[in-house]
Amino acid sequence: MENLNSIKKEILQKIKSAESDDNVEEIRIRELGKKGRITKLLSELGKLNQEERKKLGPEINDLKNKVLEEIEEKKEFFLDQTLNKKLLEEKVDVTLPVKSSQNTNGRIHPVSQVLDEITEIFGSLGYEIADGPDIETEYYNFNALNIPESHPARQMHDTFYFDEFDKDQGQSVLRTHTSPVQVRTMEEGKPPFRFISPGRTYRCDSDQTHTPMFHQIEGLSVDKETNLGHLKWTLETFLSSFFEIKNTKIQMRPSYFPFTEPSLEIDVLCDRSGPVLKIGEGSDWLEVAGAGMVHPNVLKSANIDPDIYQGFAFGFGLDRLAQLKYGIPDLRTFFSGDIRWLRHYGFSALDIPTLSRGLKK
């Protein structure tokens, strides 16, 4: 049986040295094809006697199996080789930048964000939001707020006027404060009232700290029992929540607004010693709001009996609150629409301020 052994050796050697899939196929046909050598050996088995068949049969079969196995292995080798070559050709530069959606670049303007924050706080205190028109009449902007014509306070306001006159309501103006909303809202409802009115306001003034348009937010609370103590609590509560500081200290100073009596200015404790202004600590005071008890004449303008009802009002600069909270230095940049500024100071659409998640970014 030297013969079988040498055949095996020869075939395996050939398979090993095959250089391509085609070579292997040639070997397969030559050895295992219909007329192949091993096929032939198998077919010739029948001619042998039983003893020889018993002996040679398994040996030839082993040979066949071994050759088949080697051929398949070799074929797979060539298949892999071809595939790998192809795959390498398919290579891409995976370090290239991905397509990222522009949608994450969207921003909410800081003024809108801060308004949402304030709405959360006052909402929790039971304040609704009242809106009013930007173009007002002299009546609502001044007279109804106890600022009659020729009142020196009218000059404090640097009003923008339109060439439009109503014989009862006077000239059209751009509202110089959000206070007209007080009267309009009270006219339409019945006390008690608790609301805030945010919005655009306009004054004919422009420098580093004044822009001809800015935002105010006013609050009004009218009921049978509402006094300066309630006002103080409300402002302290608001400032504590807004700046997220425990027990914000405020100072009230007498001031003058025609629509409140007594009128006050509100200062909050701050620290100016460092490079960044800190609210709620230190020993300096920073003016943040105007406030007071609603003047009886204003209540009368809104058909409310000042002998029964009284209330307090307060007003903040919305832009200024945003500046203080988020450290934005220049008011003028708020309305410049500079895309770089908006990306930097703006908020993500998903930064929705709520009291439970917190009122900061």
Binding site: K99, S101, Q102, N103, N105, G106, R107, I108, H109, V111, S112, T119, F122, G123, L125, G126, E128, D131, P133, I135, E149, S150, H151, P152, A153, M156, F162, D163, D166, S172, C204, S206, T211, P212, M213, S221, N227, L228, G229, H230, K232, W233, M252, R253, P254, E261, P262, M293, P296, Q310, F335, G337, D338, I339, R340, L342, G346, S348, A349, L350
Partner: protein
């Protein structure tokens, strides 16, 4: 309002320190704006003696001085012409802060020579207004402290006076307030009524019952005076608070203005013919005023006039020719009460600001007209000599003090603090109020701002101290049972975050734009112009925030940003009356800022087109569930869009819900900006169509398989796809669950092919073939009828 500490102390006997005084001023509502305290400011400064002064080798106007500062000698470069050898002056050492400029003195090389400190002028030290050279000191020696050597270092206090407090536009009034606060005792000056038998010039006031512009007009003749430079004390007082000393007579009237809030005017009486008084001007009358300008007057202006001519504009400014000059010998000193409203109106109309107007329009003390006249007369006689006549007075009607019936409970009701009746009385009495046993309060004549009980409350707690107010919680009386926000506010918040989540950046711009933009609308809307714009750039109210965004794009483009997506929610104006404004959410996409896009990318980008802004609009419609049968397209859209590439979305009621499209090429070329697309959503109109009812619909499962059918039609080019969709909807087939337009291609002969997929959802039982066919038949018929098109394939 400025005054010095020593001036205040003329009226207030006090041991309080400057700090106590200024803190209390702010506490009682006289807000301190600035304190110039030379003693503190000059702590580091010392007297220096110039030993030598040589010309700077590299600069003509500079000198190099060796300065003896007591214990050492410093070399200082100085630019003052009077920096001469032997001069005693003030030396600012390194590290000191110049009071006026707040500049910190550092070792500096000036043209190659190091200067160790600085020699100062009076102006720089806030001592006087002298800035021509360095200050010269007499009695002192090198090394003395500057504050000692300079002697009179009177602190200057500047306070903001609110318009309701004319009484504090004089130092005396401020002293009264401080005394009430408990900071000292008000020194009540005895005013001598001057007796004279000399005849004065007759006076008059033409006030009428309906137009009481001048209730009292008084004055007296002072003859034979020797007008001169004011004495030092008077000059100093005025100069310290920033007034220029002119001559003794004028300075005395200015002094009374600031000391007592009592403006006076001194006329050259030689130029007065017959009489003098207050009357209304005749239209066209002219006067050349002390400010050198000529004013043309009208019948609403009160003037001071003699029988022939106008001598001054009452309460505002005197005539240039008729004032008191240094050589004037005979004067008529006038003191009057002019109506605040009248003065305010005239002052505003003529645009003249003066110390007199400032006080008269806020309200002067009507009972101090004659006393003020007496004080000033006495001062003039003291300083300038002369002989005063008796006072001539024209009085329209007697002044009556305000009276208020006060219930002291109001104080606690308003402030939440309990103050004893004794304390209340004490405060009010010290402010000059009179109180009878029934608490009827008589308001002093210098407080025109106090007329109601609430005003009394303010007076009491202002002096008592607002720091006594304690916080009192004001909780919700009940748990809110409805949302805080209105539907409109909720929708505004929703669209704001929706647009930001689509990659747009929120902008807030001025509501006014340049007239250039209100002209943009090709159809030309009537601009809404401000009468007094702050600049030409901000002169017209915008019709839509879209205008602001387009303008903003131009600015950002000039900064190099071509691909931006911005939006703004704000007003657009349709007229100059309240309510003529719409709340609009507008957006603009430029360059490659597509709704589905990325930043410039190696795989390429497409430009934002009309469908990007359309998707902005409809993503919001979907969010708030606007049913698609509640609006129709009206093509083209509003004026500022490309007529072929825009639409208005109009509600069944006819209101425009939204507009979108490419910005009109005419606008682009006018503004020189590249093509961009925009949209506007009219939030007030949206509110009318949204379903605010929160009806919870139950979800229904359909187990039966849905049937999908594709149809494609050849239809005329000008027929919108929406007509095809509407046609299917109009069949009102309940079983149709969804319609998708999935293909469009352009054919020849002005035709196009549109393909739709219709999903039919059987609900109760499987549909038989003939039932499906009948539905398809209906659809095909409806579409062919509506579009005059033909079915291409099924």
């Amino acid at each position: 309002m400025k005054f010095t500490l020593s001036w205040l102390k003329e009226h207030l006997e006090t041991n309080s320190s400057l700090d106590e005084i200024t803190n209390n001023l702010t506490e009682i509502g006289l807000e301190v704006e600035d304190i110039i305290n030379p003693e503190k400011d000059l702590e580091d400064f010392i007297v220096g003696k110039i030993l030598t002064s040589e010309k700077h080798p590299n600069a003509d106007r500079l000198s190099v001085c060796k300065v003896d500062i007591g214990n050492e000698i410093k070399e200082v470069v100085c630019g003052a012409p009077n920096a001469k050898e032997g001069l005693l002056t003030i030396y600012a050492p390194l590290g000191s802060i110049i009071p006026k400029s707040k500049m910190v003195i550092q070792k500096t090389k000036i043209r190659d020579i190091v200067s160790y400190g600085m020699l100062c002028s009076g102006d720089e030290l806030n001592i006087d207004n002298e800035n021509e050279g360095i200050i010269e000191i007499k009695k002192a020696k090198a090394g003395d402290k500057a504050s000692t050597a300079l002697g009179d270092l009177d602190p200057v206090i500047e306070i903001a006076i609110t318009p309701n407090r004319p009484d504090c536009l004089g130092v005396y009034g401020i002293a009264r307030d401080l005394a009430a606060k408990g900071l000292g005792r008000l020194k009540v000056t005895k005013i001598n009524t001057l007796k004279s038998h000399e005849e004065s010039i007759p006076v008059y006031t033409k006030s009428t019952k309906n137009n009481n512009f001048c209730n009292i007009f008084a004055g007296r003749l002072i003859e034979g005076i020797e007008n001169k430079e004011s004495p030092d004390w008077l000059k100093n007082r005025l100069e310290k608070i920033g007034l220029r000393s002119i001559n003794a007579v004028v300075d005395i009237t200015n002094f009374l203005t600031y000391d007592r809030g009592r403006p006076l005017h001194a006329y050259n009486s030689d130029l007065i013919s017959k009489d003098i008084g207050a009357r209304l001007a005749k239209t066209g009358e002219k006067i050349k005023a002390l400010d050198g300008k000529e004013y043309i007057l009208d019948e609403e202006t009160c003037v001071i006039a003699d029988s022939e001519k106008v001598l001054g504009i009452a309460g505002i400014i005197g005539g240039e020719e008729f004032g008191s000059e240094i050589e004037t010998k005979n004067i008529f000193l006038e003191s009057a009460f002019f109506d605040p409203i009248h003065i305010a109106r005239t002052g505003r109309k003529l645009n003249i600001n003066s110390d007199a107007r400032y006080r008269f329009e806020r309200g002067t003390d009507p009972n101090f007209v004659l006393e003020g006249l007496d004080i000033a007369t006495e001062m003039i006689l003291d300083i300038c000599g002369g002989k005063a006549s008796k006072t001539s007075i024209a009085l329209h009607e007697d002044f009556k003090n305000n009276e208020i019936n006060f219930d002291i409970k109001l104080i606690e009701k308003i402030s939440g603090i309990k103050i004893s009746s004794k304390d209340i009385k004490k405060i009010l009495l010290s402010l000059g109020f009179e109180i009878d046993k029934n608490f009827k309060i008589t308001v002093p004549s210098w407080r025109p701002d106090v007329s109601l009980p609430i005003d009394i409350v303010e007076e009491v707690i202002r002096i008592y101290g607002l720091n006594n107010v304690e916080s009192i919680p004001l909780k919700n009386s009940e748990q809110p049972s409805k949302p805080i926000l209105t539907n409109s506010q909720k929708n505004t918040n929703l669209i704001r975050r929706n647009l930001a989540s689509r990659g747009l950046i929120e902008n807030i711009s001025y509501s006014f734009v340049s007239s250039e933009f209100s002209d943009l609308s090709p159809k030309g809307r009537k601009p809404i112009q401000l009468l007094n714009p702050i600049s030409e750039e901000l002169s017209d109210m915008r019709a839509s925030p879209l205008i602001s965004l387009i303008s903003n794009f131009r600015e950002n483009k000039n900064r190099g940003f071509n691909d931006i997506g911005i939006y703004e929610i704000g007003p657009g104006f349709s007229g100059p009356k309240p309510g003529q404004q719409n709340s609009i959410a507008a957006g603009l996409r430029t360059g490659i800022y597509k709704s589905t896009g990325t930043e410039r990318h190696w795989q390429g980008n497409e430009k934002a087109d009309v469908f990007d802004v359309k998707s902005d609009v409809f993503s919001y419609f979907d969010l708030i569930n606007i049913p698609n049968d509640s609006y129709t397209y009206v093509i083209p859209g509003s004026d500022w869009y490309h007529p072929g590439r825009s639409a208005n979305i109009v509600s069944g009621k006819g209101g425009i819900l939204a507009s979108f499209g490419e910005i009109h090429p005419k606008i682009l070329s006018k503004l020189n900006i590249p093509s961009c697309v925009g949209f506007e959503i009219y939030l007030d109109e949206i509110l009318k169509v949204i379903n605010t009812q929160n009806d919870n619909k139950e979800f229904t499962f359909y187990n039966l398989q849905a049937v999908k059918r594709d149809f494609s039609f050849d239809i005329p080019m000008n027929i919108s796809s929406s007509i095809l969709i509407d046609a299917i909807n109009s069949c009102k087939i309940d079983l149709i669950d969804d319609i998708k337009l999935f293909d469009q291609f352009i054919l020849e002969n002005s035709k196009k092919s549109l393909a739709v997929e219709v999903t039919i959802q059987p609900k109760k039982e499987t549909l038989k073939d003939n039932e499906i066919d009948s539905i398809c038949e209906k659809i095909i018929k409806a579409i062919e009828k509506a579009t005059s098109g033909k079915l291409r394939s099924l």
